[in-house]
Amino acid sequence: MVKYVIRRILLMIPTIWVMVTVVFFAMHVLPGDPAISILGEYASAEALENLRKELGLDQPLIIQYLDFLWDMVRGDLGNSLSNNKPVSWLILSVLPYSVILSFSAILISIIIGIPIGILSALKRNHWIDYIARIAALLGFSTPTFYLGILLLLLFSLKLDLFPMIGGGELSNLGSMLHHLTLPALAMGLVNASIVTRMTRSAVLDVMNEDYVQTARSKGLQERKVIYKHALRNALIPVIAVIGVYVGVTLGTAVLTEIVFNRPGIGKLLVGAVYNRDYPTIQGTLVVFAAFIAFINLLTDLSYGIADPRVRYE
């Protein structure tokens, strides 16, 4: 088991490195001159040259790349072009909001999705199953940001139950929860539909396995057969799916933060894209990449805990 864990952690490094490299080269493929974007078209050639020197843009690409890597490892992501604050500081100040949002959304999707998926599978072709499947299809087809808009319209604008804007104060739990509810629900419900579908199909598959029959043949109560023997195996692919969807959640978090005008990495990224604030764009994408690699690691580890066959590879 220990070897498995160490191997997975070591694998994380090249993955992050590749993603970060992709980000870097995407940034530097851009047409257009960042110096002009900042100083404007009418700046003097000298001023432009100075700025380029300052931003390191006059160096060959490889040198820029290596500098970038070196800085990144030390935690220096450059300074924002919009307000000259360090990008890492900007990110850290909004990171908690994003983390809490993603985490809550996943929690909601698991709490709602897994039980409904199980129920749906066990009562196959019953009316409960049909309703659950249609609901899941509807949820699956709804863009998260749209559900967010609808929730915003109903609960915020019309009913005035929840705030429209912002993330609340970090120190105040009540305020945080109040601002968290609608966005987390929007993301959570859509994700729940995916979790439901996956759980349902996993349970159906497992119920057909031979060892379920063996468990019954030992005289176990049906309840024990399902919850102990079947579910334990069915949850393995579900863990994998949840791991994948955490990644997807980070994507939808971006949109949700825009809809609810909530501080977070997503909002930071989009704002940076509008303002052509390349250091910030680069920095947030790097953080995203690291986050995703970390989530993959956690998923793999959970996999190892859940499925003993994997541990002994």
Partner: protein, 280 residues
């Protein structure tokens, strides 16, 4: 012991969901094609006096922030969504399937390289991948198609790679005497027909994904640009003006749901139809 197998078509036809989904797709595609004749107004016709009004006699779904008819713009928006969705999936499908088959067939460092690259891109959420491409290339419909293709290609690679590994064993005898030209023939004749099934299923489902990504990018202002109509772009204006009039924020979203759901339903139906466990 022989047992009659229900054909894939029969299973598909039995699924009410699949049939309903197919009908919906036909509806959406027809609307998109017939847009100029079906829409009550010209999509660019503005009547600023009437901006942001709700459903009424002249404007069935209301007007947007420039006084344009929402219904018309939704109808024209279907063109954008469908074009982008189908184009992106086609490109990604062609490229991804080829790469996947090559990777599975050739093995060695080619396979390693392609699959590792695919894995890296797969771990990024599609929206972010699309975003990175947009940042690199700029916004606009054509770039959106490229962005979504890039996001979807790794999925096709992964999809085509697995079955190729098992299928290449069957063509092995011929392969031992194969030169470059013959290898391509093996790949086309033996491998491709067998993977078409699952690829078609996922391609249908991923059209829904593509439509959604286009809407998301446009919603962020980074996709389709005005004055082109896009459902996502309409939602963006809708949110910007949400305090004045909610309709611009509601109706385009329903259109998105409609289209996405249609493709999901058909994709699900196809998947069940091709599932060996459900036959016979």
């Amino acid at each position: 012991m022989t047992r009659k197998k229900r054909s894939a078509l029969a299973v598909f036809r039995e699924s009410k969901i699949a049939i309903a989904g197919s009908i919906l797709i036909v509806v959406v595609v027809s609307i998109a094609i017939l847009a100029p004749w079906v829409s009550p107004y010209d999509p660019r016709e503005q009547k600023v006096v009437k901006r942001l009004q709700g459903p009424q006699a002249d404007y069935l779904l209301g007007t947007d922030h420039y006084g344009r008819d929402i219904l018309t713009r939704i109808i024209w928006g279907s063109r954008t969504s469908l074009t982008v969705g189908l184009l992106a999936v086609t490109f990604a499908g062609l490229l991804g399937t080829c790469l996947g088959i090559i990777a599975g067939y050739k093995g060695g460092w080619i396979e390693n390289f392609i699959m590792r690259a695919a894995d890296v891109f797969l771990s990024l959420p599609s929206l972010l991948t699309g975003l990175i491409v947009i940042v690199a290339l700029g916004s606009g419909i054509s770039n959106v198609v490229i962005a979504i293709s890039v996001a979807l290609t790794p999925r096709f690679i992964r999809l085509a790679h697995g079955p190729t590994l098992s299928l290449k064993e069957i063509g092995y005898v011929e392969a031992t005497r194969a030169s470059g030209g013959q290898e391509i023939r093996i790949m086309l004749r033996h491998i491709l027909p067998n993977i078409i099934g699952p690829i078609a299923v996922m391609a249908t489902l991923w059209v829904a994904t593509a439509i959604r990504i286009e809407a998301s990018l446009s919603f962020l202002g980074l996709g389709t640009q005005p004055p082109n109509s896009s459902w996502g772009l309409m939602l963006k204006s809708g949110v910007d003006n949400i305090m004045i009039s909610p309709y611009l924020a509601v109706f385009p979203g329903l259109a998105i749901m409609f289209a996405v759901m249609a493709f999901n339903m058909v994709g699900d139906g196809l998947r069940d139809a091709l599932d060996p466990k459900l036959q016979g």
